[in-house]
Each structure stands twice: as C-alpha cells, then as structure tokens.
C-alpha cells in the first residue's frame, strides 16, 4: 500500500529549443551509438565467449543451483521446518519430514526435492532457512535431458554441497544450537522407567 505522503509529483524537465526540435538530440544520440559501434576494445572487454571462457562470479551472492549443506559431522543440516517451501514463491520445494535418526535433533527431511526448472532462483529459501541448510551456489550451467532429471533430490543436493564447498564454504555456523549447547535430547523417558521425583 502506497502511503499518500510517499507520493511525490516530479516535474518533467524543461525542454530547450533544441530538445523541442528533436533532431539535434537525435544526432547527439547517434554519436553515442556510433561511438559504441566502433569501440572494438570495449566490446572485447565486456563480452565473454561463453562456452570457451567462463565469467568470474561473485560467489558470495550469486544465485545458482541450490545445495543442501552438511553439518560438521557430514549429516544433512536441514531440520525439515518447511520454512523454505513456505517462502518459495514458485512452490518448487517439496519436503517430507520424519523423525531423525540422530540423538541431537528431532526432525530431518526424509525427502527433499527441488524442481530446478520451476525454481526462479530468487533466494527466498536461503533467506527463510533458520539453520542455513539450504544455499544457492554459483553453479549456473545446469542442464538435463528430461524434466524428471531436473528435479533434484536430497542426495543430489547434498552432492552439490560436496562439489561446491571449496568454492563457497558454508558461510554461517548453525544459528540454532542443535547438538552444541544441547537442545532437545532424543532420549525419550518411558512412563515405566524409574525417574527421580
């Protein structure tokens, strides 16, 4: 909702006579156009012969293929909170949660699929993730021979982490302290067990 006080009416620039006659400005514009047309050096500088050469990317914030990060023990860092699939505007993340096999956390993704063809690479999943488990990598040249192939499952996403962790290390330590300062303990007290009252 735009607030009224945020609306500002901007005055159009006043036109000079040459502006009004239009043609002088066209000629001035053509000079720029022609200058670019004949500047061979600039052309070579701005263009990359793609398959032979590759562009240098800013790996920190380039938004390419996703990966699922692993924690220091090599386990998937995701806790299946569904925040990414909730935030995803393209509805391309499909998660099935389950009880985790590890003692230091409750929940983990049994299935984690991203449809890379449906994805719009907006990075919202990365923003939404509370434990920095999903990240976008600088990998951009992904191809596949079928649609099915482009639906990346958990294994493939973890593999991408292995492939890209040298280029882009897992940036942040886990925000939630699972396993570090002791969150939920997996051990469940049975009703029949002896317990100190």
């Amino acid at each position: 909702m735009i607030r009224d006080e945020d609306i500002m009416m901007v005055a159009p620039p006043t036109l000079t006579t040459s502006d009004k006659l239009y043609l002088p400005q066209v000629i001035a514009g053509m000079r720029t156009t022609l200058r670019h047309m004949f500047s061979v050096a600039k052309r070579a500088e701005t263009t990359v012969q793609y398959p032979e050469q590759k562009r240098k990317l800013r790996v920190e914030n380039y938004r390419g293929v996703h990966r699922l990060n692993k924690d220091p023990d090599g386990r998937v860092a995701c806790v299946a909170c569904f925040m990414c699939s909730t935030a995803c505007p393209a509805h391309c993340i499909h998660i099935e949660a389950g009880e985790s096999p590890w003692p230091d956390r409750e929940k983990y993704p049994v299935k984690f699929d991203i449809d890379e063809l449906r994805c719009i690479y907006c990075g919202m999943c990365e923003e939404a993730c509370p434990c920095d488990a999903i990240e976008l990598t600088p990998h951009y040249d992904l191809v596949g021979k079928s649609r099915q192939e482009m639906v990346f499952d958990k294994e493939k996403l973890l593999r991408i982490f292995d492939e890209t962790k040298d280029v882009k290390p897992r940036k942040n330590p886990p925000v939630t302290d699972y396993g570090l300062t002791g969150g939920q303990d997996k051990a469940v007290a049975r009703p029949t067990a002896e317990r100190k009252v």
Binding site: C81, K107, V188, A189, P191
Partner: protein
C-alpha cells in the same frame, strides 16, 4: 443480561460468565493459557489480568484499584467497569510473557505447534522481541506418556489444562503436575500411561507445543492445512469437527465447538476414525457384469443403464419387486435423491433402512460427554426420509429375509461402512436378487452377486447433512476431491434424478425441505469467539 464497561465501551454479556469469557465473546483479544470455558478456573497463568474499578476504601468513591485482577476468575456483575488497554496491564502481560520464555527451547522450526501456538502469538503481540535470560535454560525431558501422545516438557507452560481435562471431563486423571516452581512439570504416574478414550483432546487443549499427537507428528506444518467444517461420521452422536487437509489428503481431525452436542471435545474414535478415507483398498472403478465377468463401466453411461434396468424391473408391477437399501452412512440429501429416483421409476419400490452397526452400550463421561454405541451417523435421517416418502418399507433384516425368499427382482444396495458389514449368509440371501446394484467403499461379500458395482465416496469427499440420534440436522462440507475414478455419491444421484448442474448440499436441502419440511430446520453451532482457544 448484565452490562459491563470494558475500555470505556459498554458490552452486554451472558449471565454468570467470567469477565474474560465475556470480553472474548465481545471480540477483544485477551491473552490466556489456563482458562478454558469447559474446565474449572485456576487463574494460574496470570496473563489475563485486568484493571477494575472498585470503591476506594477511604472515600468510598469508585476508582481504579491499584492491583490487577485475573479476569478469568472474576464473574461479570452488572455495571462493573474494567480495562485492558492500560499501561499496567500491558506491562504485566509483557513481563509474564518474558517469564514464560525463560526456559522455553524456542525450537519452533521443528515444533508441530508452530503456526497455531499461543506462545508464538502472544509473544508476538504482547511480549518482548528479545530475552534478557543469560543463564543456561532449564531443560525438562521429553516424555512418551501414552500410545497416542508425546509430552515435550521443555515447551510446557504448566497451564494445567490437560490435568484438569483428565480429572473433570475424561474422569481418568492420569496426568499430574509434579514438582514445584520452575521445576514443575506435567507427568503421568509410573506405569499408568495416558490411555483414555478422550485423550486426543489434550493435544488440542495445549496452548503450546508440549502435548503432541504421535499420529500427526511431523506430518505437515499447520499453516499448510486447510480446515473444512464437517460432522463426525463414526457415531450417531453427530459431533462437529474440522477436517484439516492439504493436497486432498486428510492430516487430522479436530473438534469444532458445538454447544448442543460435543462442546469442545471429540472422542479418539472420531479423531482417528478417518483413516479409511486414505485406504488403498478402496474401490475406484465402476464395474458391470458382462457374461459372468466384471467389466469396467464408464460413469457417464451408468445413469442411463440404471434407468433402463429400473424401468425393466418395474415395468410390469409398479416396482413391487424393487428394493433400495439406504445406508445410514448416506447423508440425508443423498438418501432423499436416491429414494426419489427409485420411486420415480418404481412407485411401489421398497425402501430399506440400511444396516446399522452397534457396538457396546453408550458411554457417558463425568461432564456429560457421550460416546454413542450406534456407529453410523445418519440412521435417524434415513428413517425419517423413508417415513416421509411413504409406501412400502422394511428394516434391513426384513429385507435380507424377503430377498432370500426371492421377492426382489432388483435391489440397489448402498454401503459405505469403514468396516466389514455383511455376513456371508446375508450376502447369499441378498444375492438371490436378479439385478443387484451395489454402491460401496470397499470390497464386500456382495460383490460376487452384484450386477453393477459402483465405488462410493467417503464422507470427506461428499457434502450434505447428517441427522444425529437426537434429531439434530447438521450440514457438513466437502473437504477432499473424490479418489480418481470415484464420483461423489451425491453428484451421481443428482445425475440419476436428472437434475441440471452440479450437486450442492445446500441446494438439494432446500428442494428436500419443500417436500419434507422437517429438513428445513438445520443446526449450525455458533462459532467460538475469534480470540478464544
């Protein structure tokens, strides 16, 4: 009706309710954990505190008292004046919220309550953005307290709702608060797990994520669920429920407040009785007997075929040899449409009340909650329709007997029960009917004899209304798309009758009410106040 003034606004309230309830009903959002209208009041959570005007001890003039009072424990009195919109109340709320979060693990990402958690909601609305707690959090263990419920003690706010529910409503009292102060936690006695027929309700009652259902655990985040108002299909009590579903899958069933039937509760039978909807053994293909073998039949061709068969059977004798078994699993609308169809072609057809499963006696709990023994939702509805239609009718036993005697040339038998409902003998007797049309959810002993077998839809895939054992007609809505290959019963009967357009429960009910006025009077429970829980 007493009138009270809240934040300078005068509201009318019901007699004898606490101020908190009156204010919630008037639309205010007052935070509360321990107060629940169906349970006794303990005033232990200290969140609903309010300011109240009372006579000054010295001057005897009405003035704001310096102390805060729990609004859940103060009954309304005509003319009283209270306020929530004051600095004192707000500061009290935010400090109490801070206390609640001192030991809370803040594991919302993995907590199933996230999204409908009142700890989240209240700290967002009434609490602080940050915590001043620097010490290590005190951590209570996670406990497996029963076959269906898990207790995450560290998330607990010790509101004792579950304890009071066990004592007062379920009458079992397995849960207790043990220890004191910040060590207080909920627990069960050693060797006595939480196992009663209403135990699922403690999960709904819990305002935070401490008590969780094992059945729903990790299945779905609650914000992805859509809730459809429905009516319990497992018993004749007619408890009103919400069906929580997503992507045409039911994930859980919750009670829907109903002042006349089930109040805030449902039994576990209702709560977990939906599983058959997702059963892989459900029928999903109409079949027609062709030279002894069953061949697929197209839904589009079915109405014409049925009409022809019915006309053939009824041509000679006005349809004396035709019977139609109206299952108590059908909604009133569906039963009416089907009987209208049969009677329109065979005026002397016999209408039969379908088999009514009964198990044990009715059970009544301390505060009056009932589990009825009759395990079908709409026996009374079907019976009253048959009565209103007039003409020949029969009970299921009579029908089986006369069918065994070879009285019927054609019978339309509807089932729709989640469990096996026919004995082999009964099936053999019914099998004597020359043209047998069955309409059921699962395979049954009748399949062997059926001429046409139609797959039915479960109640979550249909819409209509059920008349409960007390004669209350309660509508329910469609939650899911029918299984692939299945047509919802109402839609099919709608097409049989030859009505135009799509089947809609409400529309059909209107048409039915013109013929049978009793069905014009439906009951829809009043909604709970927006901010109550």
């Amino acid at each position: 009706m007493p009138k009270i003034t809240v934040d300078g606004k005068q509201i009318e309230c019901r007699d004898g309710v606490p101020v908190l309830q009156a204010v919630l009903e008037a639309g205010w959002d007052v935070p509360h954990y321990c107060y629940h209208p169906g349970l006794s009041v303990v005033a232990s959570c200290r969140l609903c505190l309010m300011e109240m005007k009372m006579p000054h001890p010295q001057t005897k003039e009405m003035d704001w008292a310096p102390k805060l009072f729990p609004s859940c424990q103060t009954p309304v009195k005509d003319g009283m004046e209270v306020r929530f919109a004051s600095e004192g109340v707000a500061s009290s709320q935010s400090h109490v919220m801070e206390y609640y979060l001192v030991n809370h693990p803040l594991d919302c990402p993995v907590c199933d309550k996230a999204g409908e958690c009142y700890l989240q909601d209240y700290s967002e609305k009434f609490g602080h953005a940050s915590s001043r707690m620097v010490e290590d959090k005190h951590k209570n263990p996670k406990k497996d307290i029963g076959s269906k419920t898990l207790l995450y003690s560290d998330r607990c706010v010790v509101c004792s709702r579950c304890v009071r529910f066990g004592d007062e409503v379920a009458g079992a009292g397995e849960l207790r608060v043990i220890n004191r102060g910040h060590r207080a936690e909920i627990d069960v006695f050693p060797g006595v797990p939480l196992e009663n027929e209403l135990q699922g309700n403690v999960v709904d009652l819990c305002p935070v994520g401490a008590l969780l259902s094992k059945d729903f655990l990790f299945q779905q985040r609650v914000w992805n669920l859509r809730s459809t108002p429905s009516v319990d299909p497992t018993t004749s009590a007619g408890a009103t429920i919400w069906i929580d579903h997503n992507d045409d899958r039911i994930f859980r069933v919750r009670p829907r407040f109903n002042e006349k039937v089930n109040e805030w509760w449902i039994s576990d039978e209702t709560r977990f009785g939906w599983k058959y909807v997702a059963d892989s053994k459900r029928l999903n293909q109409p079949l027609q007997r062709d030279n002894g073998a069953m061949k697929p039949l197209r839904w589009e061709a079915a109405p014409e075929l049925l009409r022809r068969l019915l006309d053939e059977a009824a041509s000679a004798d006005q349809g004396v040899g035709v019977a139609c078994v109206l299952s108590p699993m059908l909604s009133c609308e569906e039963a009416w449409l089907l009987s209208t169809f049969v009677r329109s072609r065979a005026p002397q057809a016999t209408l039969v009340t379908g088999y009514v499963p009964v198990s044990g006696p009715d059970k009544t709990f301390p505060k009056g909650f009932k589990i009825s023994a009759e395990k079908a939702p709409n026996r009374r509805g079907v019976e009253s329709i048959i009565k209103a239609m007039g003409g020949p009718n029969a009970t299921f036993e009579q029908f089986v007997k006369s069918a065994g005697d070879g009285k019927f040339k054609l019978a339309y038998v509807t089932g729709g029960y989640p469990q096996v409902w026919l004995t082999a003998d009964q099936a053999r007797a019914i099998g004597k009917v020359q043209t047998l049309i069955t309409h059921d959810l699962f395979e049954s002993a009748l399949d062997e004899y059926a001429t046409i077998r139609l797959p039915g839809a479960s109640w979550a895939e249909r819409e209509g209304s059920f008349m409960n054992a007390d004669g209350l007609i309660q509508p329910f809505e469609r939650a899911l798309k029918p299984l692939d290959g299945v047509k919802s019963d109402g839609q099919f009967f709608h097409e049989l009758v030859g009505r135009p357009g799509l089947y809609r429960g409400a529309k059909t009910r209107e048409a039915m009410a013109e013929k049978i006025p009793a069905f014009g009077d439906i009951f829809v429970p009043r909604p709970e106040p927006e901010h109550a829980h």
